[in-house]
């Protein structure tokens, strides 16, 4: 396997007295797609936020290509440009057009030429089917269109790794697919990604490796087939069970 891009060792994260992540190790290799699963509150979103230094950490280390990621580290902005993040509620800037949203960071933070960035942005927009929306404002877009824009915005700084934080959780069901297809397409292009999601079918399709997180620790880790077909731990089994339904043969009237 190729070299590790992202290396997390002994990561420790607490909020006041609550431990959110406890002694977590993880390495992500070039081109790898890792899906992080787990019950709500297990620390998966916090993990992504730590990787992007949106949260301070209380112990351990996060390294991107050998460079330490830390909230008060030196080259924080440079490192953040190498990490693309997509949020649950899109977080497009409402006062800017789609194109301005995408061009902001490459032009202002990376100092790249406007024309060149615009050209790239338009190519990427076309790829996600939004070339006609370049001059629209976020409020004129559907949820799915907003999220596709946010993905393009994250891509345009040429990140080494992409973080997806429950990006379909706020979407209407009929828009989930258009967003997941974009992510699948990126996976096929060999992009390195960490994906937090509740879409199990999608997780299975996109992941090279599945990580199951509970109470801030990695409980189980494996290929999608291993994890979904024969989970080793009870906790993982129970978690997967919450996604299947059966009608009880003899219904009990709770009233």
């Amino acid at each position: 396997m190729s070299e590790a891009i992202l290396e997390i060792s002994h990561l420790h994260k607490t909020f006041d007295i609550n431990t959110i992540i406890e002694d977590l190790d993880l390495s992500v290799h070039e081109g790898e797609v890792i899906v992080i699963l787990g019950p709500s509150g297990c620390g998966k979103s916090t993990l992504l936020r730590c990787i992007n230094a949106l949260e301070s950490i209380q112990g351990g280390q996060i390294k991107l290509r050998g460079e330490t990621v830390s909230k008060d580290g030196k080259n924080l902005r440079g490192i953040r440009q190498k990490i693309g993040m997509v949020f649950q509620n899109y977080e497009l800037f409402p006062h800017m057009t789609v194109l301005d949203n995408i061009m902001l960071a490459p032009v202002k933070a990376q100092g790249r030429k406007k024309d060149e960035v615009r050209e790239e942005a338009l190519v990427l927009l076309k790829r996600v089917g939004l070339e006609a929306k370049a001059e629209s404002y976020p409020r004129q877009l559907s949820g799915g269109q907003k999220q596709r824009t946010a993905i393009v915005r994250a891509l345009c700084t040429h990140p080494d790794i992409l973080l997806f934080d429950e990006v379909t959780a706020a979407l209407d069901p009929e828009m989930v697919r258009e967003v997941l297809e974009v992510i699948l397409d990126l996976a096929n292009q060999g992009k390195t990604m960490l994906v937090v999601t509740h879409e199990m079918q999608f997780a299975r399709a996109v992941a090279d490796r599945v990580i199951f997180l509970d109470e801030g620790k990695i409980i189980e880790e494996g290929t999608p087939d291993e994890f979904f077909d024969s989970p080793k731990t009870d906790r993982a089994k129970r978690f997967l069970n919450t996604f299947t339904f059966e009608r009880k043969s003899s219904p009990v009237n709770i009233y």
């Binding site: 992007n52 949106l54 902005r77 440079g78 953040r80 440009q81 990490i83 693309g84 993040m85 949020f87 509620n89 899109y90 977080e91 497009l92 800037f93 409402p94 006062h95 902001l104 960071a105 202002k108 933070a109 990376q110 404002y137 976020p138 409020r139 907003k146 915005r153 994250a154 700084t157």
Partner: protein
């Protein structure tokens, strides 16, 4: 109604109104600058200055302009700080308005979700760039109605300037009432001139508010 009286004293009111507008504009402009500085100090959590700003805001908001003016105009000369009445009026208005403007800007900034900031940071923007391109443009839109309301409030507050012997509209009206007993005419002129000053601002304010409400810049 004595139209001759109105004709005769119209220019006097005109002069007084210009004085009100002049001091008003200077005072409000200074208030905006003070407000912006205060809000930046609060936003960037600058130590010490932050404390001073919050004390200033409390003092300024919890005392009447009239008292502030009396203190500055009649009290300060006793400790060697003498100001011309016009300057004093502008200083008083700026002192009062600075805190109101700071609050308007603060509510604008606070209305923006922290995750907007975070998404700017996650793109690699610096703190200054985030303020400049992401926070401020949104905050300005959000605080526009409060801003206009403050401008109207401060323009109305200028009516106390006559207390420090500035020959403003109130001074003129009171003077004419005392001298000639043409109370009705003097008051009509007073109201008309205040409406000339205040109505346009008020109309602009409701236009902006309507645009914000229906145009919306919601995400």
């Amino acid at each position: 109604m004595d139209t001759q009286f109105i004709e005769k004293y119209f220019p006097l009111y005109q002069k007084a109104a210009l004085l009100t507008v002049e001091i008003g504009i200077i005072g409000i402009a200074a208030a905006v600058i003070i407000g912006l500085i205060c809000e930046m100090i609060i936003y960037f959590k600058i130590p010490v200055l932050r404390r001073i700003v919050s004390v200033y805001i409390e003092v300024s908001r919890n005392t009447p302009l009239l008292i502030q003016l009396f203190f500055i105009y009649y009290g300060f000369p006793k400790i060697g700080i003498r100001t011309d009445a016009k300057v004093c009026g502008a200083i008083g208005l700026a002192f009062l308005g600075g805190s109101y403007m700071a609050e308007a800007f603060r509510s604008g900034v606070e209305a923006i979700d922290t995750i907007q900031e975070e998404s700017a940071y996650s793109l690699g923007l610096s703190r200054m760039q985030t303020v400049r391109y992401v926070i401020l443009p949104q905050a300005v839109t959000v605080s526009a109605p409060a801003f206009i309301a403050n401008v109207i409030f401060l323009l109305k507050e200028t009516s106390v300037f006559s207390a420090i012997s500035l020959m403003d509209l109130m001074f003129t009206a009171k003077d004419l009432i005392g001298l000639y007993y043409n109370t009705t005419e003097s008051l009509v002129l007073l109201v008309v001139f205040y409406l000339i000053i205040l109505l346009p601002v008020s109309v602009i304010g409701s236009l902006i508010e309507r645009r914000l409400r229906y145009g919306g810049s919601g995400a």
